[in-house]
């Protein structure tokens, strides 16, 4: 299996599908000769031409809307948002249009559209270029939300997202673009809505996604040295969400922690918590649950502030350790 970066894996999925399906095309700001702000579309215009790798003006509402319209007449557009924060400029098209069209017109139309772009902090891009706003879209029926953590998932999930008959928000993480992993260049997509247990453990279940999967796994190693063994679930997609996997895990471990980079307040963590409390796993819970999240502030610029905003490996390990000690879980 070839090794490729996460960015190359995203590109590979787009190229695969474009080679196979003439309805698929990409549009966005600076995705042509520039190759995209993060290099994700690098070289694609040479292979597929300016028509299908289409540079747009700076007009997010226009291009997301154009993606919807093209989808309605049978195309399969992929719209790149240079930073996922800029989806804010296209909110009406995403929330009032793309998400509603299938439902509102009685199922007579569907919007097979992928909106993809980088989310997350850690690059010093400050408050308007570093957000993780996935919870907003998770809240809107009609949208699917995907957040891969590894190159093979990035490729496989994007293939599935492109083939999905619904609008899918595909969030890449800036700090993951350069990580490498083995990726099979096959036609097989990864199904949406299936989480993965990345590490088995007995003392607690930690549910996470995107960049935080890596940090939680590292934190789990630190805990292992102290004698705790935590299970780590990578959700991979938030809508649909693999709650059955979390329930099954919590029934075994009896403790649930959730970690995400996004601001804690109103975040995905609350939803996961509620779903578990509503489920049969409730009876198995032996401890109050724990959320480890971004601070309830916009993302600050200065390196020490930005690092404090994001859950770090140390913060995650310490939070988990304190929690386990408090709950009297002996290592």
């Amino acid at each position: 299996m070839p090794e490729m970066t996460y960015a190359a894996a995203v590109r590979s999925a787009m190229e695969w599908e474009m080679a196979k399906d003439p309805r698929v095309f990409v549009m966005g700001e600076d995705i042509g000769v520039y190759g995209g702000a993060f290099g994700v579309t690098m070289g694609m215009v040479d292979r597929f031409g300016k028509d299908r790798v289409r540079d747009t003006p700076i007009a997010e509402e226009g291009i997301v809307g154009a993606g919807i319209g093209a989808a309605l007449v049978g195309m399969r557009p992929i719209v790149e948002m240079q930073f996922s924060d800029f989806i804010m400029n296209a909110m009406d098209q995403v929330v009032n249009q793309a998400a509603k069209i299938h439902f509102m017109f009685g199922g007579r139309m569907s919007v097979p559209l992928v909106i993809r772009g980088p989310a997350g902090a850690g690059t010093g891009a400050a408050a308007q270029h570093s957000q993780s706003l996935e919870a907003w879209f998770h809240h809107v029926p009609g949208l699917k939300v995907v957040m891969p953590a590894f190159p093979d998932d990035a490729r496989g999930l994007l293939l599935t997202a492109i083939r999905d008959p619904n609008p899918v928000l595909f969030y890449e993480h800036k700090l993951l673009y350069k990580i490498k992993g083995e990726v099979t260049e096959s036609d097989e997509g990864v199904p949406l809505g299936r989480g993965l247990i990345r590490r088995y453990g007995t003392h607690a279940t930690v549910v996470t996604y995107s960049l935080m999967v890596h940090r939680v796994l590292e934190a789990a190693l630190q805990l292992e040295q102290k004698g705790w063994d935590v299970e780590v679930i990578d959700l991979r997609s938030l809508v649909p969400m693999d709650i059955p996997l979390v329930i099954e895990s919590v029934k075994r471990t009896g403790r649930l922690a959730i970690c995400h980079e996004a601001v804690g307040r109103g975040g995905i963590g609350g939803e996961i918590a509620a779903r578990i409390l509503e489920s049969e796993a409730f009876d198995y819970l032996e401890a109050p649950l724990l959320r480890i999240t971004g601070l309830n502030t916009p993302v600050p610029y200065s390196p020490p502030l930005e690092s404090a905003f994001m859950p770090s490996v140390d913060r995650i390990a310490q939070s988990l350790a304190t929690w386990l000690v408090h709950e009297g879980v002996s290592a």
């Binding site: 520039y34 702000a37 747009t56 003006p57 700076i58 690059t123 308007q128 502030t297 610029y301 502030l305």
Partner: protein
């Protein structure tokens, strides 16, 4: 005093020398930022104003106390032309507690509110409706202040521009839209991203008078802006200026310049706005050593600003606790 000919109001040599100083300060500041990024001393990204100095300097020279501006992601030059403190700017870029935003904002959010800068902006086009709102506030209070809304060419394709332009026009608000047409929005050339020849032509669709000006010539910029400002201040409604200029450096720190040629960059550099002003001043009989001295002083000042920034403390994490909400109106801690 020597005076500049062919302009509506005379420019004294002293004023021209001031401009020369300001333009050098802007250039040296951004050159220094460029070096810091190259050395990996700053994280994040930045957008340099090098090549476009005549626009901010010439336009802002026409403003009066109480007037305000809205700035962009490429905002260092605007803030310096307003007289902003380069120490606090540099400290912000280095993420220090002594920066304009206490290190919270960084390159894209440096703004000196005390001098009328309502904000640099990381979101393309977002400052334009805000500028209109500031003008609305002035108009509702019958104050004679006006607003200069700086914008790039690329931003004119955002919905925000169109909504802002129309609002300003129908309410006859005191806004001067200054389009810094540096030929590109990141890699998108104006030739490909617009189906019209001159961006200034857009204004007609909103009933806004517009003027195109050579943005590499500070005298033209100043003269055009003076006229626009005068008309706007008289209550004639908004005006749009298209200043034709060029960005010498990449769009941001990660730009390989694949969308334009070295030749093109070289050609524009021949029309350098600082050289242009220098030639004028030399023609006026100013001793070149005097001009070199001014430049040298600005190089010194920027070096001191960098030293100040490097010596400044990092912000403490607990400052975030009180940073999100204002405690009371006008809480600008």
């Amino acid at each position: 005093m020597q005076q500049i000919e062919n302009t509506t109001t005379p420019i004294t040599t002293a004023t021209a020398l001031d401009w020369y100083r300001t333009m050098h300060r802007i250039r040296r500041f951004d050159e220094t930022i460029d070096e810091l990024f190259a050395q990996g001393k700053v994280h994040g990204t930045t957008h340099l104003y090098i090549g476009e100095e005549a626009v901010a300097t010439g336009v802002i020279a026409t403003l009066e106390p109480g007037d305000v501006i809205t700035s962009t992601h490429r905002g260092h030059g605007h803030n310096i032309a307003l007289g902003g403190d380069i120490q606090a700017m540099m400290a912000e870029l280095l993420g220090r507690a002594t920066g304009y935003c206490h290190g919270v904002g960084g390159s894209m959010h440096i703004a000196d509110q005390s001098r009328g800068n309502l904000g640099a902006n990381g979101i393309v086009g977002a400052g334009l409706p805000i500028a209109v709102g500031a003008a609305l506030g002035f108009a509702m209070r019958h104050e004679s202040h006006l607003v200069v809304a700086f914008t790039g060419d690329g931003a004119l394709n955002e919905g925000a521009f169109h909504e802002a332009a129309n609002l300003a026009a129908i309410w006859r608000l005191p806004v001067v839209f200054v389009v810094e047409n540096n030929q590109y929005g990141m890699s998108g050339s104006v030739k490909e991203m617009f189906a019209i020849g001159h961006l200034a032509d857009r204004a007609a669709g909103y009933g806004i008078p517009a003027t195109m000006v050579d943005g590499m010539d500070i005298f033209s910029v100043w003269e055009t802006a003076s006229r626009a400002v005068e008309a706007v201040r008289k209550g004639q409604g908004p005006h749009l200026i298209e200043a034709v200029t060029y960005r010498y450096k990449g769009h941001s720190k990660s730009d390989a310049n694949r969308y334009r040629s070295r030749d093109e960059i070289q050609q524009w550099r021949q029309r350098d706005p600082i050289d242009h002003l220098r030639r004028y001043l030399a023609d006026q009989g100013i001793d070149p050593t005097e001009l070199d001295r001014i430049r040298q002083e600005e190089v010194q000042a920027v070096a001191q600003a960098l030293q100040y920034a490097e010596d400044s403390p990092w912000p403490e994490v607990r400052m975030l606790d009180d940073a999100v909400y204002a405690l009371e109106e006008g809480d600008h801690a």
